[in-house]
């Protein structure tokens, strides 16, 4: 591939390939939208705190030699595993004993066996471009993961999808693309684990699409922990049909720069969603979380709880919009952002917002920012608990509310273990 600063990448047209016509059209449309819109800039509300220059001016290769992965610490016990390495499924590292009613395959295989299903997904996502980075993923993805949970299936074990990016030497960009379809009445627990290990700088341009069909129930947990050399721009879409329930908890620890943009659209009544997040950051980590929930139809419930714990010079943004459409009666939307600052130099930008175009709805939002309470700290110290440990205990007490929203025991224990471990490091980090 051409080696040029990343800002040039938008010039690269989708290569002519043998893909079906609908896929070629999908890529071409995306390409045209990038030509029209260009890259986002700080003049745009959703991008005002993030400096894109280090990304846009860097040269990233598209094909690179992957590093050997040691995922031991990241594996969820007693779960089905799929590893998406540098944008492609690594079959050697993935489980081979998936149950029959769970399909997990590459796009290449999906085009052979599930073309109609994949096409439906792609067509549905067509109109939902979030930003030019997401469009870039459409143009450049080479392969991806297609996951189909068959009708009425109740998955016994959680499915862990590991998104691992690594590059041995050259700076590199990856475009993992994931489609997860939970068919009518199905129930599944999925853990997304985004990890990076590199000697070189990497950019993960990730796009995830979730389709929760009628009366399906999805519990999703995301764990993001990448090295200091990684950039991650993740765009997530959730389409929720009538009666579906999605509970999505994201835990973000360390990374150079992470921007997550999540859009939930209710397309059928009586659906519910919980979008919760926990950020535990130190050093110069930057995490920008953007959430939009669209109550396109009535009688749906959305709840957001976001907690941020920041030390050092960490920067964190929580920008959330709950949009209740005209006619979406009996919608219920709650947003809460709580932040705890452990240093004078850490910064949080918290902005829960509402756009309400219908009466007869419930909508609430709030934000708090505080510090570790000196009284609580003294109380614990006076019982013999050292200051760092007492601080960890109080910080965990603050974070726990988010961890507890994870209903699946295995996934909750996994996140709890990582939060406990990361906490000590974050709390004791000297500025």
């Amino acid at each position: 591939m051409t080696l040029a600063p990343y800002r040039e990448v938008k010039q690269f047209e989708p290569s002519a390939n043998t893909a079906p016509a609908w896929l070629a059209a999908f890529r071409k449309n995306a390409y045209e939208s990038i030509q029209k819109n260009g890259f986002p800039s700080r003049k745009q509300e959703g991008w005002k705190y993030l400096n894109l220059e280090p990304i846009l001016s860097n040269v990233f290769a598209e094909n690179t030699k992957a590093e050997e992965l040691n995922l031991n610490d990241m594996l969820l016990e007693d779960a089905y595993q799929v590893v998406v390495q540098n944008g492609k499924i690594n079959t050697t590292l993935s489980s081979s004993d998936l149950p029959q009613n769970l399909v997990v395959c590459s796009f290449e295989d999906a085009l052979k066996n599930y073309e109609r299903e994949l096409e439906t997904c792609i067509n549905l996502s067509q109109a939902e471009t979030l930003n030019s980075f997401e469009a870039l993923n459409r143009v450049h993805f080479q392969d991806g993961l297609f996951c189909l949970i068959q009708k009425e299936t109740k998955l016994e074990k959680p499915l862990q999808i590991l998104i691992a990016n690594s590059s041995a030497e050259t700076d590199a960009v990856f475009y993992p693309r994931l489609y997860v379809v939970a068919n009518e009445g199905s129930k599944a627990n999925i853990l997304f684990t985004q990890v990076g290990k590199s000697n070189a700088k990497t950019l993960c341009n990730l796009a995830t699409y979730l389709f929760a069909k009628e009366n399906s129930c999805l519990e999703l947990v995301s764990y993001q922990d990448e090295t200091e050399k990684n950039y991650s721009l993740a765009n997530n879409f959730v389409f929720q049909a009538a009666g579906s329930a999605v509970n999505w908890t994201t835990y973000t620890h360390s990374c150079n720069v992470i921007r997550n943009e999540t859009k939930v659209a209710f397309t059928g009544k009586s659906a519910s969603t919980n979008i919760n997040s926990l950020c535990l950051l130190s050093g110069e980590n930057e995490v920008y979380n953007h959430v939009t929930v669209e109550h396109r139809v009535g009688a749906c419930t959305s709840q957001q709880l976001s907690k941020h714990i920041l030390n050092g010079k960490a920067r964190n943004e929580f920008n959330s919009m709950s949009h209740i459409f005209e006619g979406a009666s009996l919608s219920d939307s709650q947003q809460m952002s709580r932040s705890m600052l452990l240093s004078d130099k850490a910064r949080i930008f918290s902005r829960p917002q509402l756009r309400v175009y219908n009466e007869d709805v419930k909508a609430a939002h709030g934000a708090t920012i505080g510090q570790v309470s000196a009284d609580e700290l003294f109380y614990l110290q006076s019982r013999g608990i050292a200051k760092d440990e007492a601080t960890s205990l109080l910080v965990y007490g603050f974070a726990e509310e988010v961890v507890e929203t994870i209903a699946d025991k295995t996934m909750r224990a996994f996140i709890e273990k990582h939060v406990q471990r990361d906490l000590r490091e974050v709390v004791s980090t000297e500025v």
Binding site: D375, Q381, S382, G384, I385
Partner: protein
């Protein structure tokens, strides 16, 4: 065990303790009584290491160590304990885990192996039964949503688990009904031994019917102005502080 000499302490330039002297020996129970604002609670907090107070003069020796040089947690590890007048609520921190953490910190300090969850549970149950405390206490968050009486009982439970050499109880009796007062007092009596000591800070002689002090001190304006045996408390109950303050001023 505890020797306080000429202790002066202030908060935001405002001097509260003005040359306090006190000597406590192993096996003794001391009661400190005094009107509001006399500095009783300040004394407790200064001894526990509350950073809002600044010690400007004087010394405190605890088992031969300079107490004032130690961090709050080090004081606790050495065997000093304060029962808070207003125990702090800590939502999100489980009482049992908190107690185990504190207990193990002390074990570690003493060079003993730490107790695992099950062994500690056994120890905690024993203390809970001894103090006639509701076992549900252990599973709740530290003082969170506790009633005033429950908070005070939780302080005594912590004292029982940590087994301090010296405990200073800051108005542990205030806000308690008669039954709670009896339970708390019985708890303190059960924990009392020849090798430890207790300082009770109280407004009321009533507590001293349950926990009999060896020495009673009257504190006013940042100093102890009179000490005596338990009869001093009865005398005080009858005559009020006024006489003692006048008497003390006259002798100066």
């Amino acid at each position: 065990m505890l020797t306080i000499k000429n202790l002066h302490a202030q908060i935001e330039e405002n001097e509260i303790l003005k040359g306090l002297n006190l000597e406590v020996k192993p096996g003794e129970v001391h009661a400190i009584m005094g009107p509001n604002g006399s500095g009783k609670s300040t004394l407790a907090k200064v001894l526990a290491g509350d950073a809002s107070y600044e010690v400007t003069e004087g010394s405190v020796l605890f088992d031969g160590k300079d107490l004032l040089e130690l961090e709050p947690e080090e004081r606790a590890l050495e065997g000093f304990f304060m029962a808070f007048q207003y125990p702090v609520e800590i939502p999100g921190v489980n009482n049992a885990s908190f107690l185990r953490m504190a207990y193990n910190a002390k074990r570690k300090h003493q060079g003993k192996p730490e107790l695992d969850v099950l062994d500690f549970e056994e120890l905690l149950t024993e203390k809970i039964n001894m103090l006639s405390i509701n076992p549900a206490f252990a599973e709740r968050n530290v003082n969170h949503g506790f009633s005033g009486g429950e908070k005070k009982r939780n302080e005594i439970l912590q004292m029982a688990v940590l087994d301090p050499k010296i405990a200073i109880l800051d108005e542990t009796d205030s806000g308690l009904d008669i039954d709670a007062l009896r339970i708390v007092s019985e708890g303190v009596n059960k924990l009392k031994r020849e090798d430890n000591a207790v300082i009770l800070i109280t407004h009321y002689q009533r507590l001293l019917n349950y926990i009999v002090p060896d020495v009673v001190h009257i504190m006013t304006n940042g100093k102890i102005i009179k000490s005596g045996d338990k009869t001093l408390a009865y005398e005080l109950e009858e005559t009020g502080y006024e006489n003692f303050i006048t008497e003390a001023t006259a002798t100066v």
